[in-house]
């Protein structure tokens, strides 16, 4: 009977106190969580649910743009709170997110080219006969790793490594600022799960998108329990020296597949 727990948790968090840290930039300090939350929940517009007014034609580009802008939440909230820990966490987080953005952009083109559309619903429904996960297992794994790093989940949560930086860029936040930063992170995580299921497993009905997307998000929590945090230089090498060439290769692979299938 733990169903009431999340709601009670939300009330507790909202009623917690907060302070303005000494010599912080007050406006930016207050604005940082707002940016993070707003951007991460604007991204949900691209999912093809019945409740949306319209299907979004450029959804993939929307996702790319907003997840690029999402880094400003980290920059603003970390820099403005005038703490060394949050500053270090910000620098790490920004470097990590921008490096993984390259491979994200490239790997996202793989399902987009195969589905011949930037519209999420069309990409989902183009996989009626075979899932893109079966077409290229490498692209699936690289995409999952990229997304884990992009939303800064373990084992890639170097920006908030508890053992060396106390909590990274949100160490000075309390109350609703902290809540919004965390909701933004979890909102991104769920969306990424839904995107994974949609782009690579072609879930078409709302129920299966939600169910398997939640399973993907659950897997990331599972990873948190089972995998240790990696080293920072390893993280960067993984992005630039493995995922980036793999992304370039998978774009070429997708185009070659299109041509050899006689669809071009």
């Amino acid at each position: 009977m733990g169903l009431g727990q999340p709601i009670a948790d939300a009330f507790k968090l909202a009623s917690k106190g907060w302070i303005i840290p000494f010599r912080s930039n007050v406006m930016l300090y207050l604005f940082g969580p707002f940016i993070s939350f707003f951007i991460s929940f604007s991204m949900w517009y691209l999912l093809p649910f019945e409740s949306q007014v319209a299907s979004f034609k450029w959804a993939v580009i929307w996702f790319l743009c907003l997840s690029s802008v999402n880094v400003y939440g980290v920059i603003v909230s970390g820099w403005a709170s005038n703490s060394k820990y949050s500053m270090l966490g910000t620098m790490r987080g920004v470097a990590q997110v921008i490096s993984y953005e390259i491979s994200m952009g490239l790997l996202m083109l793989f399902p987009a080219v195969l589905g011949m559309s930037f519209e999420v619903y069309e990409i989902f429904s183009s996989q009626k006969w075979v899932w893109i996960a079966f077409v290229s297992y490498v692209a699936l794994v690289s995409w999952s790793i990229t997304m884990l790093a992009e939303v800064q989940r373990p084992p890639f949560d170097l920006a908030e490594g508890e053992s060396e930086l106390v909590s990274g860029y949100h160490v000075e936040y309390g109350g609703m600022g902290f809540t919004l930063l965390f909701l933004a992170e979890y909102g991104c995580l769920l969306l990424v799960g839904f995107m994974l299921v949609g782009l690579f497993f072609g879930a078409l009905e709302e129920f299966s998108v939600v169910f398997f997307g939640l399973m993907a998000a659950w897997c990331s929590v599972w990873l948190r329990a089972s995998v240790p945090r990696c080293r920072y230089d390893q993280l960067m090498m993984l992005s630039w020296k493995s995922l980036c060439p793999l992304g370039l290769g998978s774009v070429v692979l997708a185009m070659i597949m299109k041509i050899s299938a006689g669809l071009g």
């Binding site: 909202a14 009623s15 106190g17 907060w18 302070i19 303005i20 840290p21 000494f22 010599r23 912080s24 207050l30 969580p33 707002f34 939350f37 707003f38 929940f41 604007s42 517009y45 949306q52 007014v53 450029w58 790319l64 690029s68 005038n82 703490s83 060394k84 820990y85 949050s86 500053m87 620098m91 920004v94 470097a95 921008i98 490096s99 953005e101 390259i102 952009g105 083109l109 987009a112 080219v113 011949m116 930037f118 160490v171 000075e172 109350g175 609703m176 600022g177 809540t179 919004l180 630039w240 020296k241 060439p245 370039l248 774009v251 070429v252 185009m255 299109k258 041509i259 669809l263 071009g264």
Partner: protein
């Protein structure tokens, strides 16, 4: 002139209606945030100890806005170049998807472009701007 202006306003209004969800998210966030900021405010900078930045029990030494490692700056430069190139890929792919030209024709140009990207990556790799240690 006037009709152009009216058309502009109509299109702005339409796009605002279309973006109702964004406005909803923004309003919800504002409401939640303002409410709890008012409810949970426990004093500003008048409490010196409480509002001092967290530093493991020390008095804070110096400011936090210090200089940082040049590695991060270099990485941001490399990112800039690559991101511009990746962003250039997207409109071209969009053109391909709209069936202006067959994929095979696009591929001839794109293969060259992607090879160029790969060569750039190789150059940065060999030059050592990707190394962290």
């Amino acid at each position: 002139m006037n009709t152009v202006r009216i058309g502009f306003f109509v299109s702005v209004l339409l796009s605002m209606v279309f973006c109702w969800e964004l406005a909803g998210v923004g309003m919800m966030t504002c409401l939640l945030y303002c409410l709890s900021l008012v409810l949970g405010y426990r004093g500003g900078s008048q409490f010196r100890e409480k509002s001092s930045p967290y530093e493991c029990g020390f008095e804070p030494i110096g400011g936090a806005r210090s200089s940082f490692s040049l590695r991060f700056f270099l990485l941001a430069m490399v990112f800039m170049i690559f991101d511009v190139e990746v962003v250039l890929l997207f409109p071209a792919m969009a053109g391909m998807m709209m069936d202006f030209v067959p994929v095979s024709v696009y591929f001839q140009g794109f293969f060259f472009f992607l090879i160029l990207l790969l060569l750039g990556l190789w150059f940065e790799w060999s030059e050592g701007s990707l190394e962290w240690l």
